[in-house]
């Protein structure tokens, strides 16, 4: 096979996939672009391993139940201690009175004992009822990461990562639902229609809670009047600015307010109120601002939950959305400044197909502009880490170690610092090179007894590394150092 075919296979794996594994270059080098299309055409298989995981609402209720139990235990323990103290106090009251000077000291000791007692009660309760949220999160991390490690090429998984970041929520606000949200709202639609993903994401309880819509209510709604509370613009603004049209695309502050009113009533069933349905999506007419509303110049008649769906359907096929999504996809996969012709082609396909994301992705991987540019993109920390583990031929991960690594690299999984998600340009991440080296060093230390650096160069990277890299690896003082240099090389980090 010619070296250019090999180079294109490597580019396909790095730019559009999860990075080469032993044997993966040879598997696709006869037709790399065809292999990418073939992966998109493969019938979508849900994560097999995820069948054992709880749904978002089940996980939410499990955590809420544990919190309630823990609180009850702590309360009981506190009561017992108070009863004991009272008994002792009664007993000492029978004894001769203490000297006045000592009494103050006693009351101080008493106060400090009370504080100790409270902390002990809380600690005992926490030990007796551990938080189930963290293990659920870690299990979700493990299954998601291993799907990326085991993918042949991994384009579909890359799309899941991209869209999950586009419609991000944060596990810092709602850990219980964070993994299940991606499986329920994002994963089923990455090769489907944008409108379906939009409806699933904005209507998901995790999103409604993350962007404060669960407590937003119309000023003229029944609850708004009775409780003197009102609107929260957060979900409406971020839907317009980040999820659909894009910032500075022509909508106004009035559109934000009007859309926020449209979305009032999109909430969830409170955890404590319903043991079987707590956490599920619920449209609550009592919170909904009554009446017709105008968004982006179009009048929407009052149709309760359907009013919001109608606005979202229109946003999903708006020309500004097509441009925004096409630009963001191309920027993520191809270049920080993508070729305008590529973005135009993708936006046109988005528009012509009514937002068919499989067709938009196909247009991207079959456009010549996606292949001609040099590998200037710096891999995101998550891409780089998974690529390193794949290159070492490993298929399993320890989620505790993995999440700790992502934290150090500044890209905590499902915990972005804002609704905008993580940026994916070089300028954002290049100053993290020092930290990457430390991670590469740590990983190489653990992998050095199983992985031969020369094998990685020949079998994983298809010998497509510069003479400088080969020389540095050849001269390294140890296998560990050789691997670290290899994983830190420009060839390995850029795509």
């Amino acid at each position: 096979m010619s070296s250019s075919a090999k180079a294109e296979a490597i580019l396909a794996l790095n730019r559009f996939g999860m990075g080469p594994r032993p044997g993966s270059i040879a598997a696709i080098e006869t037709d790399p672009r065809g292999a990418l299309i073939a992966e998109l055409e493969r019938p979508y298989a849900a994560l097999a391993a995820s069948s054992a995981l709880p749904s978002s609402t089940k996980a939410f209720r499990t955590v809420a139940d544990a919190n309630a139990k823990r609180q009850a235990r702590a309360t009981l323990a506190k009561r017992e201690q108070e009863a004991k103290r009272k008994q002792m106090a009664d007993a000492s009251a029978m004894a001769p009175p203490a000297m006045a000077e000592g009494a103050t000291q006693d009351s101080k000791e008493q106060a400090s004992k009370e504080q100790d007692g409270k902390e002990m009660a809380e600690k005992a309760a926490a030990d007796a009822v551990p938080d189930p949220g963290r293990p659920i999160y870690l299990q979700e991390v493990k299954i998601r990461t291993e799907a990326a490690l085991n993918a042949d090429i991994g384009l579909t998984e890359r799309l899941v990562w991209f869209w999950s970041n586009h419609f991000c929520i944060s596990a810092d606000k709602i850990q219980s639902m964070s993994g299940a949200y991606e499986r329920e709202a994002i994963r089923p639609h990455v090769l489907g229609r944008f409108v379906d993903m939009l409806l699933a994401a904005e209507g998901h309880p995790a999103m409604l809670f993350y962007l404060d819509n669960t407590i937003s209510m119309g000023a003229n709604s029944t609850a708004g009047i009775n409780r003197s509370r009102g609107l929260n613009e957060n979900l409406a603004r971020e839907t317009l600015e980040l999820h659909t049209l894009g910032v500075r695309s022509g909508y106004t502050q009035d559109d934000v307010i009007s859309f926020a009113n449209v979305l009032t009533g999109w909430t969830w069933v409170p955890a404590g109120g319903d043991p079987e349905h707590g956490g599920e999506f619920s449209f609550n007419p009592r919170l909904h601002e009554p009446g017709a509303k105008t968004v982006l110049g179009k009048l929407y008649e009052d149709g309760e939950v359907e009013q919001g769906r109608a606005v979202l359907r229109d946003l999903a096929i708006h020309p500004a959305t097509a441009t925004h999504i096409a630009g963001k996809l191309a920027r993520h996969f191809v270049a920080d400044v993508p070729p305008p012709a590529l973005v135009e082609t993708m936006a046109k396909v988005f528009h012509d197909t009514g937002g068919d994301l499989k067709e938009v992705t196909k247009a991207m991987v079959s456009s010549p502009e996606s292949w001609t540019g040099p590998a200037t993109k710096l891999k995101l920390p998550c891409e780089w880490t998974v690529g390193m583990v794949r290159a070492a031929g490993m298929t399993q991960t320890d989620p505790v170690r993995f999440t700790a690594g992502q934290t150090l690299l500044g890209e905590r999984l499902w915990r972005p610092p804002s609704p905008k998600g993580y940026a994916d340009d070089e300028a954002t991440w290049i100053d993290g090179m020092g930290r990457r080296l430390d991670i590469a060093n740590n990983f190489s230390e653990r992998a050095a007894d199983k992985v031969d650096p020369q094998d990685v160069i020949e079998n994983v990277l298809g010998s497509c590394v510069s003479a400088d890299v080969k020389q540095a690896v050849g001269r390294a003082e140890s296998r560990q150092q050789a691997l670290a240099l290899l994983f830190m090389s420009a060839e390995f980090q850029r795509r």
């Binding site: 850990q175 404060d212 910032v247 915990r415 100053d431 993290g432 400088d468 390294a476 830190m488």
Partner: protein, 415 residues
């Protein structure tokens, strides 16, 4: 209860994830005048509620606007008087002390030229110094340093230090070399491995070489962490606001230790997130009070760790925009316009509230909802850069803050 637990932990992590800083050395700066000035910029991301931080208690419309959420001098937690008109949030006793000692000034009803309400665009304008968002990928602080370098005041060749941070704030990004740092521990790669990798990058990828070299230079400056570094060996920190306080003080305090070193950097920037108080803002005793308290602790840590250099220091605390003048439907505030900027440091001619007060009546609010900006924040920043760092005024108007020729630098802030 569940709700508050989640909210709390989100704020906590937001601060952790976004906080880091970067700086550039400028050893020769102002030596000719016998000065060695330091400038630290702290960006509060998420939009600080200026009215919740510094209340116009003398405005007759103040109580009417915020009702029982208004900070007042005779409240349960009384606001700290600054002058006859303004009072400081009670969570900031250190800043109040510095103000009384004429080492702090506060600018009110200030904003960048940005008049929309997107955080991300707003931060872009704030940090880039360019009125149009998304126009450039460099920050005003970095361009100011480039201007000093071209003047021969700073030797950038000697200043390339190192970056460990995951994300560098835009305000210091640019051509002048930047190093960054983030307070977490890990088994580090050896000096030898680092040197080999640097050699490899120099042959294959100059950009990666620059990024890595910056870190090696910082390491050569020696450890910045003090013996009381709470992150040194024990990652287990107290939960909730105590953790935020510890983290923010640690980041700011470490920045100060670096800035105080005789051969250390002279300019730095840090970002703290979490100020987007849409729900249950709690200016007097809740969320916002906690965050302001953490910021106040950070300012105290900077003052302490700067030591003697505090007398040559200015710390500028800025945010992308303010919040709605009224409380929203969920006991918080939404995105607005005018807000405050805090300046503190021994080099300031402080003890002053600087405000061209626009008033709080409905007709006086911007678009009937936000505090109207009457002081261009660029005037403040230009004043500091001109009088503290000696950046040429024409350069300030052309390359540091392009299109700001009609915004005169504010005089008399330092001195």
């Amino acid at each position: 209860m569940t709700f508050h637990r989640h909210l709390h932990s989100r704020r906590e992590a937001l601060i952790g994830a976004g906080a880091l800083f970067a700086w550039t050395q400028m050893p020769k700066l102002a030596r000719a005048e016998g000065r060695d000035p330091r400038l630290l910029v702290i960006v509060l991301r998420g939009a600080l509620d200026g009215l919740g931080a510094v209340a116009p208690v003398g405005d007759p419309d103040w109580i009417g606007l915020r009702g029982d959420r208004a900070l007042v001098l005779d409240g349960k937690t009384p606001a700290l008087p600054l002058d006859a008109f303004f009072a400081l949030n009670p969570a900031m006793p250190n800043l109040h002390r510095l103000y009384k000692a004429q080492q702090a000034s506060i600018i009110h009803a200030t904003a960048t030229p940005y008049r929309e309400r997107s955080h991300f665009d707003g931060q872009d304008v704030l940090e880039s110094g360019v009125a149009r968002p998304g126009a450039v990928d460099t920050g005003w602080l970095n361009r100011a340093l480039m201007a000093l370098a071209s003047d021969g005041q700073v030797d950038l060749r000697g200043s390339r230090a190192l970056g460990v941070g995951a994300v560098t704030p835009l305000v210091v990004r640019g051509q002048a070399p930047v190093m960054s740092w983030i307070p977490q521990k890990l088994l580090l790669a050896s000096d030898d491995t680092r040197a080999r990798l640097l050699d490899l990058y120099q042959h294959t990828d100059p950009k990666l070489a620059v990024a890595l070299q910056a870190r090696i230079r910082l390491a050569a400056l020696g450890p910045a962490a003090g013996p009381d570094d709470p992150f040194a060996d024990n990652p287990a920190l107290p939960p909730g606001i105590a953790r935020i306080r510890a983290y923010v003080a640690e980041v700011a305090g470490t920045a100060a230790r670096f800035l105080a070193k005789p051969d250390g950097p002279r300019v730095g920037a840090a970002g703290f997130v979490g100020w987007d108080t849409h729900i249950n803002e709690g200016a007097a005793a809740g969320q916002l009070a906690n965050l302001l308290g953490a910021l106040d602790g950070a300012l105290a840590a900077i003052e302490t760790n700067m030591g003697e250099a505090w007398h040559e220091t200015v710390v500028a605390v800025i945010t992308e925009f303010g919040r709605t003048a009224r409380i929203n439907g969920t006991d918080g505030t939404d995105h607005g316009q005018g807000t405050v900027a805090f300046l503190t440091g021994g080099a300031l001619k402080g003890g002053r509230m600087i405000a061209d007060w626009p008033g709080l009546k409905a007709a006086q609010l911007y678009e009937g909802r936000d505090l109207k900006p009457t002081t261009d924040l660029r005037a403040v920043l230009k004043g500091l850069l001109r009088d503290h760092l000696r950046v040429d005024e024409r350069v300030l108007a052309s390359t540091v803050f392009p299109d700001s020729a009609d915004v005169a630098p504010m005089a008399g802030l330092v001195g």
